[in-house]
Symmetry: C2
Subunit: 251 residues, 2 copies
Amino acid sequence: MPGTVQSIERAAAILRMLAGGTGRLGLGEIARSLDLAKGTTHGILRTLQGVGFVEQDKASGHYQLGAALLHLGTSYLDINELRSRSINWADPLAARSGEAVRIGTVLEGRVLVVHHVFRPDDTFQTLDIGALLPLHATALGKVLLAYRSAGLPEELEQFTRRTVVERRELALALDEVRAAGWAAEIEELTLGQAAIAAPIRSHGGLVVGAIGISGLVERICDTRYRPHPRLVGYVREAARAVSRDLGAARH
Amino acid sequence: MPGTVQSIERAAAILRMLAGGTGRLGLGEIARSLDLAKGTTHGILRTLQGVGFVEQDKASGHYQLGAALLHLGTSYLDINELRSRSINWADPLAARSGEAVRIGTVLEGRVLVVHHVFRPDDTFQTLDIGALLPLHATALGKVLLAYRSAGLPEELEQFTRRTVVERRELALALDEVRAAGWAAEIEELTLGQAAIAAPIRSHGGLVVGAIGISGLVERICDTRYRPHPRLVGYVREAARAVSRDLGAARH
DNA sequence: GAACGTCGTTCGGCATTGTCGAACGTCTGA
DNA sequence: TCAGACGTTCGACAATGCCGAACGACGTTC
């Protein structure tokens, strides 16, 4: 990739670093991690501060992400076609299934949640729009993995006893996903939780996202520990509906 | 402000432009608006694309915001202390008042909504976390204006017949806000809607944000078209509680 | 209490880096 | 078929941003 702007790449690396850490970071810490001179790092940070992408804690001098990024992030949501086409179908799916609905895309080897509808009946839930989930341990992620050209992830992190950590085993599971047209995940990320997902296709059949439901195992699965066919049907219908909308969107 | 990095400022300007417009923008359009050479603009956009901040529609060649920004935006929410301290108090306020709750800060002459709790009982509402609202036509904004050092906005856009567009009139209203310790807004942004807000203070009494409720005029106001004292009390109590949390947060 | 370490910040000199403008291939509409 | 606009590439120049050293302030340690 010729002719990329060095300082912008460095600025982006700083922002990603600030997003990854748990909170504020010091100038020296950032400069050391990215192997930059302190002066250079300071100039970039000052500029990022000027445009509102980072803020500085006056007391400690440490830096953190800035408020302008929040608006950019939600502006992305407004633009995103996958999300806008999905919204009309996510609410009915949540109502019919009685479970929380999430829609995701791939971002840097993870699942980025671009829409989230809470479980209808329920109490307080945390909104995880913008969250990054592992590809190999979620139903959404398995769908996205199954239909993408890039290979499997190198490292498969283990979250529970049931997480698939063998690449061979994962490859077989993805074959099944492709054959069946949908994916399930049962206690592979969080104990007691299960999920079902199906692919969202754009024009030409390219898979651009996934839609799915997630909830307690005893509600998602039947007595034989298999996903309820009724719920699978709901999810697949919703996925097809969104795909139809997306395909028809472009002329 | 000496020593700011030119290319980063230009990249930020492009991102803001993409966020402001309704959707995709062409390269020429961007280059013309920012008065840059097409080649220069292309280099910046290519870099932003490389880091995931913008995406390109392969069909039309137009550019739009990228998915990585969504994650950065929500990461900002996770870090933001104003928000994290507010969450525990926003839910009870929504429950007691029966109205939607929002928390905001100032960003570039507007109110940035950093937290939003839906009205308890109600049907579908759109989440406006990350939205930018006018300072002079919202209760949150009036509170933030009243306690900030910077002057009044130059232009006061008119949204309804009741919007305050005279700077003198606004200054008087802000005097009242400072005297009373809370602000109201009645059909000044949207017909039929009203809101109440109070300041959130950090250590030293500095106002860093505002919390408030908003809903239909007939629920927020009494028969004399004045905010219910009961609701005002709830909002002010919540604001004080958050302020206490914030002040006690630092040692 | 003084010396040390580390922090964020500033500054000048050098050359790396990004900018510019022109030219290219492609596509849409006239 | 031509004209215009589009996104993209490339080479040359010099402006630009990078580096490293030095600064003042703060907190810690002996």
